[in-house]
């Protein structure tokens, strides 16, 4: 099982799109990709439209990413988060840190 991860620039945002299930087996791919590709000067949109499930390890990576963007002073938005993941995040306390948008088109013009 592997993830498909790609990056693009849209309206001043860096959009990183993840496809596949993020769990302890795949989470390092995401972590490595972010370490290499995340341009900490730009606001980051993480497109999770095609992520059907995210385990505890995946959610922890999101929170780590949130702390990183916070310390570099840029916005972080989650895009296309599935309701089942959003729900898990809500009851376990992960959700409150994130701005969530239905699609990349909903991102504010300037991060």
């Amino acid at each position: 099982m592997t993830l498909e991860i790609s990056s693009s620039l849209e309206q001043g945002w860096q959009i990183i799109t993840v496809k596949g299930q993020v769990d302890s087996k795949t989470v390092n791919e995401l972590r490595d990709y972010l370490e290499k590709e995340f341009k900490s000067a730009l606001p980051l949109g993480l497109d999770l439209t095609d992520v059907p499930f995210m385990s505890s390890a995946g959610l922890r990576t999101l929170l780590t990413l949130y702390r990183q963007t916070q310390s570099s002073g840029v916005s972080l938005a989650l895009i296309g988060l599935r309701p089942v993941i959003a729900d898990t995040m809500k009851v376990t306390g992960f959700y409150q840190y994130f701005t969530v948008h239905a699609s990349a088109a909903d991102l504010p013009a300037t991060g």
Partner: protein, 703 residues
């Protein structure tokens, strides 16, 4: 940064890189690229770590811990390269198996880690286990312990200011009437925080949340066929793990985060969290019970055994944890420290706590080391410690529990005296006078304070309040034991008909009696506690021991909140009244008279200053007074005075009111005799020197 040398393996066993482990902390802890396993067994010759992929029946590896990795009686090893999110683990311990000598090692059994922070196997409530084919039922798992608390701390509410609401995580919101998104879970409870706030309580006491097996001793009801569960959960599997099936995310193994999120939200709303903890026994039962943890690790250390190697049964449930053995003492201490530090829990209520004061042969100790250790522990120093000060082996220590200046007690004498007063028994007024002051007869001589006393009239164990005023006898047929289980000393009165009735006079009296009970409870000094749903008249149809019932019978029916809105409102007003009136929360037995000259507490009858203490008296009034501190003082008055008049006779009685200093005037706040308007939102100023207290009624005045 320089890598540490010990972040690299030194050997390989069965294809897994390993190195010698660290003996502390016990259980599993994260080290760079690996996990440190540490387990104690004084009798084991060898110990093997058994590794599974999550939920699988066959282990993917077994790694025997090399003899040279053992330090003292602790087996410890670091194993590298494990996918710890997917990992279930256990131990096999080879050692003596001679029950007559107390040894029950059995390497064919896979044992759960007694320090497991997460336990899998019962992740979703009520999913029936496959007893025959499952090799390993209760599966230790690794947890992260990295929750983001964002500055949350325990609330440190002074004990005398607490109002405790006892509840069962599942039962609180499992009913569809709760209309929460996640019924029966920590998340469901969190959704009801606005209700708890409206009620005004500032502490919830959760019935057991340590992982237990709802299928332990489960059976079909002999007549109805209904499946009976271990619903209450007073039978611990592991002391460090929150119950997975109480988490909506238990199936993802995220119960730790969900429970912490609940505690964080409760704290943000000013509500403390007390855990009902069960250290008196475990779920391994007696010699007929299963072996899944302590029995196979070190039976003789963890359990109290008879000289013949059988299990002492002071808990009434098969075995007794050997709490004053130093090893077990450390386990209990480690456990409580973990919940206090890692979960920000505010305090603990100890089930059958008197067992914790028995020596390894069962004799009560005068200075029990475990209770002393807990009382003086640096990490627990802000935690509330509450004892259920009796056990099933005949110890009854209400008033004499070894307190070390710290321990509070469930006051069973308060419960019984108040129940008897409520139903109109003779000979109660003297006892009631003690009860409402915080029971100085029990606690004053030993230098303890009113907040030592957890005052309650009902709790999970016994009748609900609605049943207390609706049944003379218990009706436990639903438990499938021919109505033989549960206590018979209920001191209850059905108000004229057993159970369900349409008689309006009886129904009215019951409503009034419930309000009377709350009036007495909430205005007593000490710490009031009531059980979930009592504020809305929740009934269990006369079942006073619903430990095995997981149905609408034992769940909170939320439609009652609307149906009995007047009662809910009354309770909420009373709780707010308590929190606004410092005279009800004085935490000293020797408080000085207030500046207006009134004593801190005084007793009265139908005539001021002359209570009738005789056996046939059913009238008592009491006055509590305190100086308002600067912060809460209104401009009108610096004195807080509350006057409670109780008439438990079946006829109304005139009470002459005590005269007040000229700057003060009596005002009526509550009158259970006036069911149309039992609460005056703005207290009603009184001009008459006397007041008629209705039959079986309580009136509460303030100034």
């Amino acid at each position: 940064m320089i890598d540490r040398i010990d972040s690299l393996p030194t050997s390989e066993i069965n294809g897994y890189k390993v190195r010698p482990g660290k003996p502390l902390p016990f259980g599993v802890s994260h080290v760079p690229d690996g996990l440190n396993f540490s387990v104690y067994s004084s009798v084991g010759h060898s110990c093997t770590v058994v590794l599974f992929n999550r939920g699988e029946q066959i282990p993917f590896a077994e790694i025997e811990i090399p003899e040279e990795y053992r330090i003292g009686s602790v087996f410890c090893i670091i194993i590298f390269g494990l996918d710890y999110e997917q990992l279930d683990y256990g131990f096999r311990v080879d050692g003596p198996n001679d029950p007559a000598l107390g040894h029950r090692c059995d390497p064919s059994k896979i044992l759960m880690d007694p320090y497991a922070r997460t336990i899998s196997g019962r992740d979703v409530w009520g999913v029936a286990p496959d007893w025959a084919n499952e090799l390993y039922h209760y599966r230790s798992r690794v947890s992260f312990d990295d929750f983001d608390w964002e500055g949350d701390t325990p609330l440190k509410i002074p004990p005398e200011d607490l109002v405790i609401y006892e509840t069962h995580v599942r039962g609180f919101t499992r009913s569809e009437s709760s209309q929460v998104a996640h019924p029966g879970t920590y998340a469901g409870l969190a959704e009801k925080i606005p209700y708890l706030k409206r009620l005004g309580i500032n502490a919830i006491e959760l019935m057991p949340i340590f992982e237990f097996d709802e299928f332990e001793n489960s059976r079909a009801h002999p007549e109805t066929g209904e499946l009976l569960y271990n619903y209450w959960g007073y039978s611990t599997l592991g002391f460090f793990a929150p119950k997975a099936a109480f988490a909506s995310t238990g199936r993802f193994g995220m119960q730790v985060d969900e429970f912490k999120q609940l505690i964080k939200q409760l704290h943000a709303n000013g509500i403390e969290v007390l855990l009902d903890v069960v250290f008196n026994h475990t779920a391994e039962g007696n010699e007929q019970g299963p072996t899944f943890c302590f029995k196979g690790l070190d039976n003789k250390i963890y359990y109290m055994l008879t000289p013949e190697g059988y299990y002492f049964n002071f808990s009434g449930t098969g075995n007794t944890l050997n709490c004053n053995n130093p090893i077990v003492r450390s386990l209990v201490l480690d456990c409580l420290r973990y919940w206090a530090a890692e979960y920000h829990v505010d305090g603990f209520r100890f089930d059958l706590a008197s067992i914790l004061g028995r020596d390894p042969w069962g004799a009560p100790l005068s200075n029990p080391p475990l209770l002393e250790s807990l009382a003086f522990d640096p990490i627990l120093s802000n935690c509330k410690l509450i004892a259920e000060a009796w056990d099933a082996g005949g110890l009854y220590q209400v008033g004499s529990f070894p307190a070390f200046g710290r321990w509070a007690e469930w006051n069973g004498i308060y419960r019984d005296s108040m129940r008897r007063f409520l139903k109109g028994d003779s000979g109660q007024v003297g006892k009631v006078a003690q009860c409402v002051q915080g029971s100085p007869n029990l606690y004053r001589a030993s230098g303890r304070s009113p907040a030592t006393s957890i005052n309650f009239i009902t709790c999970h164990d016994g009748f609900t309040l609605a049943d207390l005023v609706s049944f003379n006898q218990k009706h436990n047929e639903a438990n499938g034991e021919g109505n033989r289980d549960g206590g018979n000393d209920n001191h209850s009165w059905n108000c004229g008909a057993e159970g369900w009735t349409e008689d309006p006079a009886i129904l009215t009296l019951r409503k009034k009696q419930m309000m009377n009970a709350f009036s007495l409870l909430i205005t007593s000094r000490g710490i009031p506690m009531f059980v979930m749903g009592d504020e809305a008249g929740r009934s269990q149809h006369g079942n006073n021991n619903a430990y095995c019932i997981d149905s609408e019978l034992s769940w909170f029916d939320w439609s009652l909140v609307e149906a009995n809105a007047a009662l809910v409102n009354f309770v909420s007003e009373l709780v707010q009244f308590r929190l606004q009136h410092p005279s009800l929360r004085v935490n000293r037995f020797d408080a000085d008279p207030i500046s207006h000259g009134l004593p801190s507490s005084s007793f009265h009858g139908t005539h001021p200053w002359s209570p009738n203490w005789s056996d046939d008296s059913r009238q008592l009034a009491w006055m509590f007074a305190a100086d308002m501190d600067a912060a809460s003082a209104s401009t009108a008055s610096t004195a807080d005075v509350v006057y409670v008049m109780a008439n438990m006779a079946h006829y109304p009685v005139w009470y002459e009111l005590p005269s007040l200093p000229p700057s003060l005037q009596w005002k009526l706040k509550f009158n259970t005799g006036d069911l149309q308007s039992p609460v005056q939102h703005v207290p009603l100023a009184l001009t008459d020197p006397s007041l008629l207290v209705g039959e079986r009624s309580v009136i509460i005045l303030t100034v």
